[in-house]
Structures are given as C-alpha cells and as structure tokens.
Symmetry: C2
Subunit: 228 residues, 2 copies
C-alpha cells in the first residue's frame, strides 16, 4: 500500500461498541466475556481490530453485525481512547461507538456461548476490562444528550409501542421518573408519532393506544440546543 510517510511508527487500532437495547422496561447494554488474553474471561465491550480495507465505522458495523445479526443500525462515535497503558497486551488505540438496537430483532450470528454475550441493565454494569467502563460512561452521556434534543425510540422500541413504554425508556435514559401527563403533551407536541387504532390491554383494563413513528417526519420538531 502506498505510503509517503516514512519513519512513522504505526499503531494498533481497534473499535469497541457499547450496544444498547431496551427490554422489560429497562435500558440494557450487551456485554460479553473477553476471548483473548489479557483479561480473558472478564466482562468486556464487544470490539475488535480495524482491518486494512475498512473505516472505523465499517469495523464497528462488522462487529455489531456478528454479535447481533443486525445491520444498518443506528451508531455513533463516542470518542477515541489512547492512554498508553489502557490495554496491557499492547499499545492499542480504540474508538468507542454506541449502537442502538431492537432486542426483539436480536439474532446473533456467532454462537452466543462463544462470547457469552448478555444483556445487562445499565444500572447494573459490572467491572469491565481496561477502560471499558469509561467508554460505557461516555457512551451513555452521549445517548442522554441525544435523547435531550431528539426523540430517541425508533431504534430501540418495537414497531408499535405505548406512550408508557416510551416514557419508561426516557426514564431509563435520564434515570429519573417523568410526569406521565407532561410527558404525553411534550411527545405529542413533537409531531413525530402517529396513533394506531389498536390498543395494548396487557397493562390495564382500559387499554393503551399503540403508537409508531411517522414514516414522514418532515413536520417533526427538534429541540434547539441553543439556550443562551
């Protein structure tokens, strides 16, 4: 491969993915057990080295596809982590990503046993290898900011869902309870959802209408961030 830059020492480059999903009224993250030394067997994010012919985004998509069976999913960079001794096995520079997937579509390609991947509530994240706890922390903060200025849900909830489910998702994002009435009004004002005629009667006798995200979101309202 062409290289006009001589005498530059190349580095090992990897990606680590914080994969979020939503299930049973809880926001969860997919954690696995590390296959390689050092740290073999410990809890870890899913990651891998970048290949010569792919971008970081390509690598992250490849890895998420392997472990979830899903492609074309929502994914964003968190940050790149490069402390000298973050990985005791070698000097590795790793870019963190966070991904949002629908657990109802989760269908891993790899044998689950191989990685022993599990969905863990974000409130119960164990100690992870290397600096992975820091990556998760930053990923969660980015997700919170996103959820603050845009209605996040399409990537995490099933096709149809109740407002209670959406609210409970938001309560997971912000880790606090939200007023049901005010939440409804806020969501409706965003013009992003459409009500179906169908009701979910699991949670109550009256039944709660199902909603889904509009195909056409041209009238959807986003919050400005600018407040000053």
């Amino acid at each position: 491969m062409l290289n006009l830059y001589k005498n530059i020492i190349p580095q090992l480059v990897a990606v680590d993915c914080a994969i979020f999903g939503y299930e049973n009224e809880e926001l969860k993250i997919l954690l696995s057990h590390r296959k390689l030394e050092p740290g073999k067997g410990n809890w870890s994010l899913i990651g891998g080295f970048i290949q010569e012919d792919e971008s970081l985004e390509d690598a992250a998509e490849r890895i998420v596809l392997q472990i979830t069976g899903l492609s074309n999913i929502f994914m964003e960079q968190v940050a790149t982590f490069s402390k000298l001794n973050r990985d005791p096995g070698a000097r590795v520079i790793s870019t963190g990503f966070y991904a949002l997937i629908r657990i109802d579509q989760y269908a891993p390609l790899l044998k689950v046993e191989e990685y022993d991947a599990r969905w863990i509530p974000v409130t119960q994240i164990p100690e992870l290898v290397f600096d992975h706890n820091e990556i998760v922390q930053k990923a969660f903060e980015k997700l919170q900011i996103l959820a603050s200025i845009d209605l996040v849900g399409k990537a995490l909830l099933p096709e149809k869902f109740t407002l209670k489910q959406l609210r409970s998702l938001y309560e997971s994002f912000f880790q606090r309870s939200l007023d049901p009435g005010n939440f409804r009004k806020k969501i409706h004002s965003l013009n992003a959802l459409e009500r179906l005629d169908e009701k979910n009667t699991e949670g109550s006798k009256k039944g709660a209408y199902y909603f889904r995200f509009k195909e056409d979101d041209s009238e959807r309202i986003f919050n400005r961030v600018i407040k000053i």
Copy 2:
C-alpha cells in the same frame, strides 16, 4: 514493546487541530500551509502523527504548543476520521481536536513563515486539504453545543472584557445577532462573571464596564440539556 496481538496490521495515526481564537469581534481559526506532500502548500489544519510514547491528547497538546506557544489550553476531541482514501499519501487515521486559545497570548514557537500560519475568520474558511473542511465543520458544531449549555469565553477572551465583546463572541458562535438587553440578563443570571470598577471607553462616551470570570465558580449555573 510488548505486543500480545499477532497478525494485526498497524495503522498510521495522526491528530488534526482546529484552533479557535477571537480577535476584532470575529471568531477565527488558525490555518497553515501544509509542509509535506501530498497537498504541499495547500491550506490545512495543524496536525501531525502520534508518537509511540504519547496519547492522542498528548500529541494534540504538543502540536498546539509548537504552533501557538501555549500549553494547558482548553481542548476537546471532535471525532476520528478514517475513510480509506482521506489522505492520498497513505492510509492515515486522524483524530480531530478543537482548541480554544487567547490570541492576545499567541506566541508561536516555530517560525511562522515555516507553516505560514494565519488567523482566518470562520466565515471565510478556504478549501482545505483532505477532509479538513469536514473536521472544521464538526469542530464548530461541537463548539456551538458547548456554548449553548455553558458560558464559553474564559478560554477565548482576554482577562477583562466588556459584555458587548462577550455578546459579539456569542454572535460569532451562533452566526446571528442577539438582543443586547436579553443577553445581559441571561449572562448575569448565570452567576459566572464579576464586574470590575474599570471601564472601557473605546466604544462609547459613557464607557462599558469590564468584567472577568469569577475565580470561584461554585455558584455558577449551567443549563441543563435535558428538555424532554
């Protein structure tokens, strides 16, 4: 150096810095002319390859120090850019940073002619090499978000400044005019500044009070981002 990971192809890793400063009522960015092929002589961000014994943050600080003479400055990651052919000279993965410096303290260590570094208003950014325009764009967006939720100014303005100057800085961030009266009230409500007894009489006969950032910002108010 220890390496437990065999058969992994290492990559060239670099940093590129979008250095912002504020001068004559304008937000500016420090651009240089590229010293190396490919693209030698073209407008470019200031950057360089990461060394074996430093993190990305270390490398960015080193590079900013060389070109501005300043250390301990405000700096944050923008994102990491890794498209396969972003740099025609080789496959280079580059992490973008943005830095905020005070132009009144700017004192480059390297001969300025060597890089031909210049302060260019953000409204007049020329075509840059590779994907540097994209890096600048994302850096500016990050800066806007920061300025939306926190009072940015300490890192860009001189020690003492008038509210008009601060407002003009904010007008540079958001590229729109802000109501003088409402801006004052907003700033005062944030509890971040203290008024000096001194006045600046350059702009008017009456004179405008100088302000500075409080040493103690324990009572300073930050805007929540959470709006839903």
